[in-house]
Amino acid sequence: MQTKSKPRKPFFWQRVAMDLARLVCTPLLLLYRMKRLTPEGKKYTHRIHGGAILAANHASFADPFLVGVAVWYRRLYFLAAEIVMQGRLRSLLLKGVGAIKIDRNAADIEAMHKSVDVLKQGYLLSIFPQGGISENEQIETLKSGVVLIALQAGVPIIPMHVFPAKHWYSRRTVVMGEPLDPKAYIQKKFPSTADIENITRKLMEEMNRCAALK
């Protein structure tokens, strides 16, 4: 499922701001001594190329930074709830570093379009598909918009799990699973609601597989 629109490029100052944010976040990699693992417990050495969605659990406000640190070598956009983007200065700063505002209480089709555009440009997009902060280790429900965006942009979804830490300085572990290609599950021109829900369930299983690492 593809739209015919021309993808929108990030403007120059946004690219500068995103790179500055990466420069600030990268030392956190050392501070957190972050372990990036596969669901089998091996070291995750794969470099992500091209457009992809990073779908992670959301247990704390630190998660967006930790996802960014896990892929420090790439520019990263992220979906941010409207409540996080309140205030002109905060909104400007967050947009500058790649935030795409989404209204969680409405069918925000413009946020979907913006997300698809950046993915088509070959960027990474971080989404927390639980739709809010949840401290449950096991994911029980996911919003299916993540699958809709991936299908529209024709990109894979990389399931992730960010393990919470006891202290801010504790060593952090991020588990990154195999990319899930939603297109591989669709044989028709238009995916049905049942197709999208099935892929969402599959993604949830993969995210829970990442969370199961002890």
């Binding site: 209204d103 409405a106 069918a107 021109k189």
Partner: protein, 78 residues
């Protein structure tokens, strides 16, 4: 082919048997008569965009209540 006919085809493809397409008349309310929820509306919008080569805005979306509203919106963008 009329816009309504193409729209019916899109609805069939997207919703299969999960909503009652037999109620798909221009006057039908998407939520109340056909039973589409907000995520269903997004599925529908994405498929309509693909079928007609258009893009909806949030403003368009806020004004869509009935099937006739969808048709009017498509006509304005074609």
């Amino acid at each position: 082919m009329q816009i309504l006919d193409r729209l019916i085809q899109v609805f069939h493809a997207v919703f299969e048997d999960s909503v009652d397409i037999s109620n798909l008349t221009p006057e039908a309310s998407l939520r109340e008569d056909i039973g589409i929820n907000s995520i269903g509306l997004l599925y529908m919008a994405m498929a309509v965009e693909e079928e007609f080569g258009i893009k909806f805005t949030n403003e368009d979306f806020a004004g869509i209540v009935t099937v006739a509203d969808v048709i009017r919106c498509i006509e304005n963008k074609l």
